[in-house]
Structures are given as C-alpha cells and as structure tokens.
C-alpha cells in the first residue's frame, strides 16, 4: 500500500471531482489544496508515475459514442480459474476481469464498437473458452456512474 502525505490525499480528492472546462482548469484545485500550480503539476506527475492515478482526462460515455457493452458471469472449475482468466485477458474487448467469491467465479465486462461486434465476441468466448456456465447480463437502465472514493 502506498503511503501518501496529506497534500497528495487532498489532490486526489480534488481530481476525483469534476474539474472546470476553463482556460486554467487546475488553478482552483491547486488553490483548494493550498499549493502553487507548479507544485500541483509535479505532485500529479509523481502520482501518475507511482501508478496511483490511472489516467487523468476527459471521461467519455462509451454508449453515447456508440459502443456496446455487457457484464458476463462465468462458472469455471476452481483449479482452472487462473488459466481461464488469462485466456479471457487476451481478448481485447474484455476490459475488466475479476475473480469473485461465488459459484459464478469469474466476472468480466466486454465492450465493442457496436452490438453486432459484441454479439460476435460473446459467441467466440462461448466457443473458445472452456466453462461450465456463462450468464450475459447487459445493462437495461443506468442509474449512476460516479467513481469517487473516500480517501482517508
């Protein structure tokens, strides 16, 4: 676990919010943290180098630009979970892939350019990946997406 000082924590809290689309978008965040813009940049760069910030930019609504996605729950033999996960990771369309403590033990998201491509990818997975069961759980309604953590 990374040890961060109070200033880094404040920076992360600010950057999780929505920054203004303005000529100097970082000015207010730096002010709130209580440091100069220059220090703000060097700290953010370090947080990126340390891998704490994954990316920093515009978040796009993938559905609004036409992408199609789904969540898949898969049941695989316990002893094969690592091998299956590795095989799934090789699909470019799979963006998130987790082992979860459940009878359905692999959960992954698949995202493609459109519904047709997504359907084809799911067919390929069904065919190529050895599994016991596979549930396709597409979104019907979106209530919220706002990833903001309680940074202590």
């Amino acid at each position: 676990m990374e040890k961060l000082d109070g200033i880094d924590k404040k920076i992360l809290r600010e950057l999780q919010g929505n920054l203004p689309i303005a000529k100097r978008p970082f000015l207010e965040a730096a002010k709130k943290v209580g440091i100069a813009e220059e220090d703000f940049f060097s700290r953010v760069k370090k947080l990126i180098e340390k891998g704490i910030i994954r990316k920093f930019g515009l978040r796009i609504d993938s559905r609004k630009v036409g992408f199609a996605s789904t969540l898949v729950a898969m049941k695989v033999a316990k002893h094969r979970i690592d091998a299956v996960a590795e095989q799934l990771n090789s699909y470019e369309s799979i963006t998130h892939n987790y082992a979860r403590d459940h009878e359905y033990n692999l959960w992954f998201t698949v995202i493609d350019r459109d519904e047709k491509e997504l359907g084809e990818t799911l067919e390929r997975i069904k065919r190529e990946v050895e599994h016991e069961e596979m549930l396709n759980l597409p979104v019907l309604r979106k209530f919220k997406i706002n990833v903001k953590f309680d940074i202590r």
Binding site: K23, R24, D61, V65, V139
Partner: protein, 154 residues
C-alpha cells in the same frame, strides 16, 4: 460531433497536458482557438458524451481493497425507485439495472461499493438494504483483479 470533436476526445481521454493552459496546447495542434476547444468540450459535456473531467485512481493501491459488486433482487415494479435510491448514496459508485436469466439468475440491480475492509462494506450493504427494504442480495467480493483497462475511443 464532427471530426475535430472526435480528435479532441482521442487526445484528451488519456492524459490531459499538465500545464497551466492545457486546452491551448490542444488548440495549437488543430490550429483553432483555445476558446473553441473549450466550447466544443462544454458542448459534448452538455450532450452527455463527456461525463467528467477527472482522474481515475487505482484505489486498491490506497488500501481500498474491499470492492464487492452487490447484486440485488428487486421486484420489477420497484426497480426505478430502488435504483434511484441506491444511486443517491455516496458509497455507491455504479448502479445499474441488468437483464436477468429467468430460473437461473434473477438479480436485477447491481451496485459497486468500496471500502477499506470487509467489515466496512458489509455495514454499507446493510445500510443500503435497510434503506430500500430489500433483504435478498449477494456481496460478490473480488478476490483477484485479472485485468482492468478501458476501451479507448478512436
């Protein structure tokens, strides 16, 4: 959306230039004005194409290691109300209704919650359960992250 909008998204989806006036840098690249870049992004924001301008954090590195997907079994007529209610909690980062597979998998509402340990999130889940009056739910803890990337636009 035109070609310039798409190019702006392609560049700014990953890493914003860490300089005082990042949109000026982008503007120079496309030989348009800084004002125009700002106007275009604001327009895409009002259309919902751009959700936010923010950083995404590898929360596991900060000790936020309990990250269950919580699957709720909600009666069809209550989905809208329950979904809105769950979404209103700060601890909930994602909330969706998803398709069911009748007879096999009938959980229809999903939330992601995050915490520093399992006790922490268990309490959150109980709080949510009380708030919506639904007892039928599953905490699906992730025991391993095999992959986490994102689909690049463009």
């Amino acid at each position: 959306m035109d070609e310039t909008d798409r190019e702006i998204l392609k560049i700014l989806q990953d890493d914003i230039p860490l300089v005082s006036r990042p949109f000026l840098e982008v503007a120079k690249k496309f030989e348009i004005s800084e004002e125009e870049v700002i106007r275009r992004i604001k327009k895409m924001m009002s259309e919902g194409i751009v959700r936010r301008f923010s950083a995404s954090i590898r929360h596991r590195k900060l000790g936020i290691t309990a990250n269950p997907l919580v699957a709720w079994k909600v009666p069809e007529r209550r989905v809208e109300e329950v979904g809105e209610k769950l979404a209103s909690f700060e601890e909930v980062t994602h909330c969706y209704e998803r398709a069911i597979i009748p007879g096999k998998w009938e959980y229809n509402v999903y939330t992601m919650i995050h915490g520093y340990d399992r006790d922490d999130v268990k309490k959150t889940a109980e709080k949510l359960s009380d708030a919506i009056g639904i007892k039928d739910y599953e905490l699906l803890y992730s025991s391993k992250e095999f992959k986490k990337t994102y689909k690049r636009y463009g």
